[in-house]
Symmetry: C2
Subunit: 435 residues, 2 copies
């Protein structure tokens, strides 16, 4: 594995096993390349359902698939769990968090994105995010703990503060999470005799004039109306001014007493060290050429959220579909180079549309020019997400859980968990630069 | 909730919602008592299946049931999530970890047991335990991380060290865990092409002359033979001398290079502060009278692992069955006192027998004088554990997972997880004195 090992087959190192990296690895299966997938976690994470872990609906294991299970039939693809300390383009070597070097002939950078706090440390410390499984579990623990704190409070003002949930950012994540939290009202009615549901307040803060700015206006309006029917307050054209202990200040001059601020208003590329002299696009994404190559180096490719890939209407969005298409493209490009064939034509994104769920029976979807709302969009959302979830067992488990929840309004993974830290596990991932 | 609140109905505070505490709370439902169940966690934990969480088979949520769900139909029973800082028998008050006081008319102490390291801090720091959900998850993370470390090792000696799993204590927990880890061989064959299964070594260390000392000798012999057939080395009559970084020393003079030492050789009462002047039995359990009362105080009852309850052959074992029977007895005793009826006759334990699973298709069971081994015992074990698991959903999930695992030899919750600590959740439980 060290840099001194002679490598007969050209070695492709893929850094990051999200949608893009994993698609690339699978596409390179059975080719003459020796492929190493490096990730700080030992699992592929199905991020679109993170918000359901964060509302005590799904088990973490339901939306996770071990890399080794995905790769086990792919003889030329191996897995290496490590965080990345540095990329060295000159020496064609990556250095792991524990100081091991892996050399490459081709490098696919697919390290995704992370929350962007725009340099504001206070914001980072005082808000909760939902980009990783750790964060989703923390958010679940936090929400449930807020209910217990409220139940133990002596005054309504305290109860209100514990039961006010502020979500900053009205994109798909913010909208989906707000809708999901609104289901907690039923839980409170049923199991918290100490509390009244009218004390619960869910507020979405969005700087733009409408939620879901990436969606057609008709769908965005529908989403906002639906949220409001679910009892969610939507504040568009409003910015977060500051987060203080126990309160947030808004640009409208209003102050909300709260212990819960979910940050879904900013996302940026999660680049490894060593890429400092590469040009950046919006959200610090790496500039790539029309074949997704970095700095004109034919052996380094960046894909997914990390890469600023030009399209007709600005850069491609940070979604799973562009990442997967780019992952497959990167594999084809590398294979062509290895086989000394001409490069494939420049990367072109085939837009599969976009969708977001708002709550039980309600979603919005924009697919191939067709705009769906309500129940049909909801069914479409369920179907697509089940389809893309990796593994039969996960699909079955999620399907059964959704059915159970639909009938019972249950939160089956409702528990406040802690995990004793383990130094042996920490060595693999905790010093990670990946999200 | 404070000590100044006038209480019309007699208030029963139950500290600890394990098998004993929960049985007591349920038995007091619908009585004139006002019952408060206090626990540092928000869930009842089905401890007999912890080892299956610790081997990546079951989800944590599968063996957990939220107290509020159990109690929601019991109008006179409420839940209060808090750790216990102190019990004050004179003032009849318990103080929570956050300084709140709850007064009681009757107190049921059911705080269970915790690992006993016999004052050896090194032992505590360098071994892994399996008494709590946190510990089981840590153990799962640790085992999986050992496989990854082994896969990244350059030398067989390192690989052997990472793949040697030492279990100290040949009781039911140690035997069940050793059998479950032996299943990891199949995982390694399938998904770790870097490793050979002959590098895997599982060693059970037991000080007595046989494993399962609490079982009839015939069953113990069967268990040992079965473990050995599964490739587990059983060292009876052997003591752990010391745990050093990367190795353990045994009383046989042998040193085993290992990164994993599971401690299941010592358990002691997990008593709250304030009970210092109560006499102790073996394993520091509180001495109680024949009606489970502490110090002759008619209003304080100790049950379960915490209490040294005399039986024909020494104290009752630390198992769920005595705890549940004692919980129900405590409820009856309190109710008789409230209703000014004569005390019920002294507590008597009805022995339901004992059982332990060793591996796929193999268990031992001793029930009502009948000794079962092999497949019949295994089916009995599965049935009893499914029956006692709380909640239809958990039963269904565990049943389906077992079926899946039986056919597929899968480890569906295989992932190395971390949870970002949350200060709001920590306030409720992390300062806990409960296990």
């Amino acid at each position: 594995m060290g840099s001194t090992t002679p490598s007969r087959r050209p070695r492709v190192v893929i850094v990051g096993g999200g949608f893009g990296g994993l698609a690339c690895a699978k596409k390179l299966a059975g080719t003459p390349a020796e492929v190493v997938l490096v990730d700080s976690r030992d699992y592929h994470l199905f991020t679109p359902l993170l918000y359901q872990v964060a509302t005590a609906l799904l088990n973490p294991a339901d939306i996770v698939y071990p890399f080794r299970s995905v790769l086990r039939r792919l003889r030329n693809v191996s897995f290496y769990q490590a965080s990345i300390a540095r990329v060295d383009f000159e020496r064609r070597v990556i250095t792991t968090g524990r100081g091991r070097e892996l050399d490459y002939d081709y490098l696919v950078l697919a390290t995704g994105s992370t929350s962007d706090y725009f340099g504001n440390e206070e914001l980072r410390e005082r808000t909760l995010a939902m980009k990783t499984l750790e964060q989703a579990q923390r958010l679940r623990n936090h929400l449930l703990a807020c209910l217990e704190h409220a139940a133990q409070s002596d005054h309504d003002a305290d109860r209100r503060r514990w039961l006010t949930f502020v979500i900053v950012g009205g994109g798909a994540t913010g909208v989906e999470y707000a809708g999901a939290i609104s289901e907690f009202r039923k839980l409170v009615v049923r199991e918290y005799p100490e509390l009244r549901t009218d004390l619960i307040r869910i507020v979405v803060i969005e700087g733009a004039e409408a939620v879901l700015p990436a969606f057609p206006p008709k769908l965005a309006r529908y989403a906002q109306r639906t949220l409001e029917r679910l009892g969610v307050e939507v504040r568009t054209g409003t910015l977060l001014v500051s987060v203080e202990p126990g309160a947030v200040r808004l640009s409208s001059g209003e102050t909300l007493a709260t212990e819960t601020v979910v940050w879904s208003a900013g996302v940026r590329a999660n680049e490894p060290a060593g890429v400092e002299d590469i040009e950046r696009g919006r959200a610090a994404r790496l500039e790539v050429d029309e074949r997704l190559r970095v700095k004109g180096r034919s052996e380094v490719i960046a894909i997914g959220d990390l890469a600023a890939v030009k399209a007709d209407a600005g850069d491609l969005p940070m979604l799973s579909a562009p990442a997967m298409q780019q992952g497959r493209y990167a594999a084809a490009l590398i294979l062509a180079t290895i086989e000394r064939k001409p490069d494939p034509p420049p990367f072109r994104y085939r837009d599969k549309g976009t969708m977001a769920v708002i709550g039980r029976n309600h979603a919005v979807a924009s697919v191939a020019g067709v705009k769906l709302t309500g129940f049909p969009a909801w069914i479409a959302w369920l179907t697509v997400h089940l389809y893309y979830l990796v593994g039969f067992r996960n699909r079955a488990s999620v399907f059964l859980t959704w059915g159970w929840d639909y009938l019972r309004h249950d939160h089956p993974t409702r528990m406040i968990t802690f995990v004793d830290p383990d130094p042996v596990a920490d060595q693999l991932a905790a010093t990670s630069m990946l999200p």
